[in-house]
Symmetry: D3
Subunit: 257 residues, 6 copies
Amino acid sequence: MKILLLNPNTSTGMTDRMVATAAPSLAPDTELVGITATRGFPYIAGRAEALIAGAIALEMVAEHKRGADAIIIAAFGDPGLIAIRELFDVPVTGMAEAAMLTACMAGGRFAILTFSPTLLPWYEDAVISTGLSGRCAGVRVPTSGFKSVDSVREELEEDFVALADRTIREDGADAIILAGAPLSGLAFRIADRVSVPLIDPLSAAIGQAQTLARMRPRAATAGRFARPGPKRTAGLMPALADWIEHRAVDAAAKVEP
Amino acid sequence: MKILLLNPNTSTGMTDRMVATAAPSLAPDTELVGITATRGFPYIAGRAEALIAGAIALEMVAEHKRGADAIIIAAFGDPGLIAIRELFDVPVTGMAEAAMLTACMAGGRFAILTFSPTLLPWYEDAVISTGLSGRCAGVRVPTSGFKSVDSVREELEEDFVALADRTIREDGADAIILAGAPLSGLAFRIADRVSVPLIDPLSAAIGQAQTLARMRPRAATAGRFARPGPKRTAGLMPALADWIEHRAVDAAAKVEP
Amino acid sequence: MKILLLNPNTSTGMTDRMVATAAPSLAPDTELVGITATRGFPYIAGRAEALIAGAIALEMVAEHKRGADAIIIAAFGDPGLIAIRELFDVPVTGMAEAAMLTACMAGGRFAILTFSPTLLPWYEDAVISTGLSGRCAGVRVPTSGFKSVDSVREELEEDFVALADRTIREDGADAIILAGAPLSGLAFRIADRVSVPLIDPLSAAIGQAQTLARMRPRAATAGRFARPGPKRTAGLMPALADWIEHRAVDAAAKVEP
Amino acid sequence: MKILLLNPNTSTGMTDRMVATAAPSLAPDTELVGITATRGFPYIAGRAEALIAGAIALEMVAEHKRGADAIIIAAFGDPGLIAIRELFDVPVTGMAEAAMLTACMAGGRFAILTFSPTLLPWYEDAVISTGLSGRCAGVRVPTSGFKSVDSVREELEEDFVALADRTIREDGADAIILAGAPLSGLAFRIADRVSVPLIDPLSAAIGQAQTLARMRPRAATAGRFARPGPKRTAGLMPALADWIEHRAVDAAAKVEP
Amino acid sequence: MKILLLNPNTSTGMTDRMVATAAPSLAPDTELVGITATRGFPYIAGRAEALIAGAIALEMVAEHKRGADAIIIAAFGDPGLIAIRELFDVPVTGMAEAAMLTACMAGGRFAILTFSPTLLPWYEDAVISTGLSGRCAGVRVPTSGFKSVDSVREELEEDFVALADRTIREDGADAIILAGAPLSGLAFRIADRVSVPLIDPLSAAIGQAQTLARMRPRAATAGRFARPGPKRTAGLMPALADWIEHRAVDAAAKVEP
Amino acid sequence: MKILLLNPNTSTGMTDRMVATAAPSLAPDTELVGITATRGFPYIAGRAEALIAGAIALEMVAEHKRGADAIIIAAFGDPGLIAIRELFDVPVTGMAEAAMLTACMAGGRFAILTFSPTLLPWYEDAVISTGLSGRCAGVRVPTSGFKSVDSVREELEEDFVALADRTIREDGADAIILAGAPLSGLAFRIADRVSVPLIDPLSAAIGQAQTLARMRPRAATAGRFARPGPKRTAGLMPALADWIEHRAVDAAAKVEP
């Protein structure tokens, strides 16, 4: 089974790190392929950037979807998730969605911890659009700053242990999601110092993508995720325009050696 | 007062028609300026298209915002609305948001009627993101098809009268929104044949934009709509990239004659 | 356009002050006419008083509605608002309703600040009946007392700046409503010392009343706000009894010079 | 124990009938005393009338509360209920509130059936203000008309049996409230022809009033129902004005022979 | 009227104490009969224990229901309540349900105070399943520990007075439920030291059981609480198996002297 | 990895059939072990039976948990799920929970179809306790009856295709769960005749159990699912009593050859 790890940020280092971290979550027959955005932001933070990155994610799927059994949007907040489900037929999940759904099996109420306050409104939106507000104990951030997104996982390790503890006591969280691609893997490092289950969004997303890929749900031809009919476009990236206009891309593709 | 009517569709005809229809809603001291997207879709229908158009709307604001006292996103569904509020400082509303807020003063529960079933999930999202699900009696579409978006207002006039009546009786609607830019003005044509108030989204949006413009709320420097700090970008449209990267655009602008 | 500012309190001073404060919110073609209750309370505080004042507001509309294009209930909490919509045909809004609807365009979540704890349950009811609990970050009061309703705006100015700041930080408010007729105008005085948009309910109500008046929604003949048929009454104020019993008041009125 | 059955309608016949119907619901040590409004409407229908009647109910409590262990607002919709709780210290319930709370012990979801469509918005408000929307399967009315409020119970008996049946099948109701004072007693007449428990609001209200009276909850001096301090009034009914202004009425009363 | 006080804990001392405490809540014609579980836990604390105790409560009803006009599940949290309503025809309420419904007539929002943190998730579930989350200001526990369930009422008396006060101020509670059978009677002891009404769950449950018993609602033959048809069982306690398999137990019973 | 398929029904045939059907959902390194209840009901239907079966499920886990990496409660409705999470440390999911969480990745709103109306209230409870009411389009049953639980899958195949179609059109479902262990596998048989993705609860549960097992979340020592301290019991099944009383079972177990 082939799963596409689609990073809508432009940082290839982060993609590589996620692929490396993912190994223990993969079944023996799963291949994980990382791809990185070539335009947009080094690290998406906020809802305007997520809107732009969501449109870029559509371009990436249009270009790279061939052969994928499932796709992971590898940015917590899941830019483009719903639009991808509407336009394309391959099963897809996002790190936020997958983490929250998985957390529902680990605790009555989950909290989301992340590293920067600018991420909060975006992550709060993700909770609402997943329909899980009733099970979310809060979205919180350590008060300490950090130097770099690349090292934030190490810089704030102690802060996250302390914040997790406060969140359990004050907000009644039974499970904690460590959110944001730069925190991938942290859940495993600090698990024995936090008294409730920690959810690693990447690990959750791989689990959920594998669940979808094995289930092979049929593509919808009715309902909210039926593929729209052909539509005229102007000024869009070619692969995406081809797909939206239903041009003979896939047929041509079959001729490829 | 200058209000920008930002049409994120590529159809200039629709922009012109909206500007023409708007006259009775304008205060004596209000000027309404229409601008039309130069890339994207002739008519946005669905959530993937709205995502793409939302990113385009950001480009349009970056390019045209100078001098505007308020902005209207002139597509029901309000592509880019939240992102524009986050990135920019000018007051903004959308046709969906404005219509729903206005409808709350006309009825206990409002219904939204539109012309194509492909629009429903997008409009349902708009209800949820405005937080008014508890006051929405439903989003409905006539069963008849139509030939063209340009003439749908005339083609389905009778169908909308009949559907409004059913919605009042079956869904308990006290006010009805006729949604979608192509229906602008229909509310005034059929008002005396429907037994509850009809809300014209364009008229509502102009009313709300004028309310915001006269109130002159200060730009947020905290909370969900504080402008983000400068951010590096790649591959974005220049005016938008300049704004996001906080480049000296406005300073330069002041030098302009 | 003529807008009636209906103050259901018995303080004419407060009515005058509101009319004076309103000027910047009026379009060039808008006339604002203040009227003051002749029985009831000098200043309504609490839900029992609001019930009594709501019945008085109905009497005031019955007596003064002629010629009005829209009516504003000029007490935050909007006594009688729904009943007025049910009984009469002129568009109406209240300071609480208008402020909350307007705040929805300025922030993701709004908070309501007012000056006396006895007002809280009443204002909380207003949030619920507007259906906007999901967007309300809280209703709060400064801990300091004050000497007089007439000077509370000046007495507590510093307290409101500080409370607004706490509300932004602790409750996640993105917009703040300064509620209660005695605070009219305060929003403009302290705007540059608070980091999110401040909503002045009087200014919002005038904006919304103008929106309704320009839109001229038809009177409902079905749904929750259709005027009830004639009904026998006993012991009610004459103008109100006449209207409820459908006596020939309006016909007579037309004969007036 | 003495319970006051406060009828905010002006029909003494209805009061008498309710008192007569109530016998099987009374404990051996309970006395039920009916009082009838002397101004207002013969039968309240709608939210404007309920607002006016609510203010009248306050007057009635001010005049008649002496010696009562509990009060029942004997009109489904409970005009003045919250205001009475705020102003006075005697325990109080209403027919709507009591019926809904009791129905929660008889079924997972209850429906409310009544006789006139003009009552629906008012009864829907009662569901919302009791906080039981999640347990309400709907508020419905038979399609047949009727000649008189006095005989509606007999006229529509068959219609209510049929409507109850439909409500059980279509709306998933497990318990049914027959709402409106004119239907008092109907629940007992048709119980064996309806397949779920029927709730008679008068019987429920007497049960709940007895529960409150035996429990003798202390009067609140904090929270939403603490009695407000003295307040100046103008033009109110004397007994109510005395109570609101904290005049020495009760002290004087104690001197009464 | 005969009411069964069914204690699903194995402590007969607690049953006796509740029966003794109940006297002031009983009408002159009410007999209260206590029965105690013979297997299970001395004191249920937590949701796994409540599940086991709920199944035991079904056995107790099967064995003891004869002649009862109503049943009270005498453990806050109401183990087995819904299942008893589904299987059996006698009216039933629980201490949690009855306390919450009664509290709705005493305050806008109620809080639940209890003595051990292990009870919280269970009690929170009770709030949710009663559908009253919107009226619940919180479920709280004193920080002090205690020596024995039998004396916790006396040991923590001061703590509950202080916690009630904090709950009123910080959480906005207008009524307070003192939850857990071991606290029965405490409400009456500390009433004059707490500034809002206190609800004693046992007293509330007796009031509600009397309300149900006097109303004599018919047994449902449709909806969620219609008795299921006969069903084969294996390994269940005989009286319960007989009832579920519809064996001729009741017929036989009638022959009993 | 070893996953326990715990069937709380007494039908071994159903367990065998589920294990046989499960193959395509298993990763190469997953072993699925079925165990069947030895007391209770041949097929659980309804909430009283689910309560009893939930207590039995606890006994089964106490007896069989050794060596399991994750447990599946193999009855839609998930009897005992929360209690198992509270008492034991092994990750656990249920067919209802897993199906709903998985369906959230396949559609905006899911519907649940099952074969018998007696199952509805139980399944509705499952939706509520998962916190996904907002994403559930309804729980429906075909009107046709069937002869046997063993053959219902074949008997009603056409009915389910038709009901799925109605649910998509009338209720707006984007994904459909075919609920109840007897329907396991049906989703794969009719997938190409239904126009939205079908969710097979067994397949979903295996996917989710594998996700949990690979993630190896730590056992909670705080929050709602921390294992309770030792507790005295009476009359419980020995293995369960040992576990609840913290007797030296596991230590002893380690000595086993």
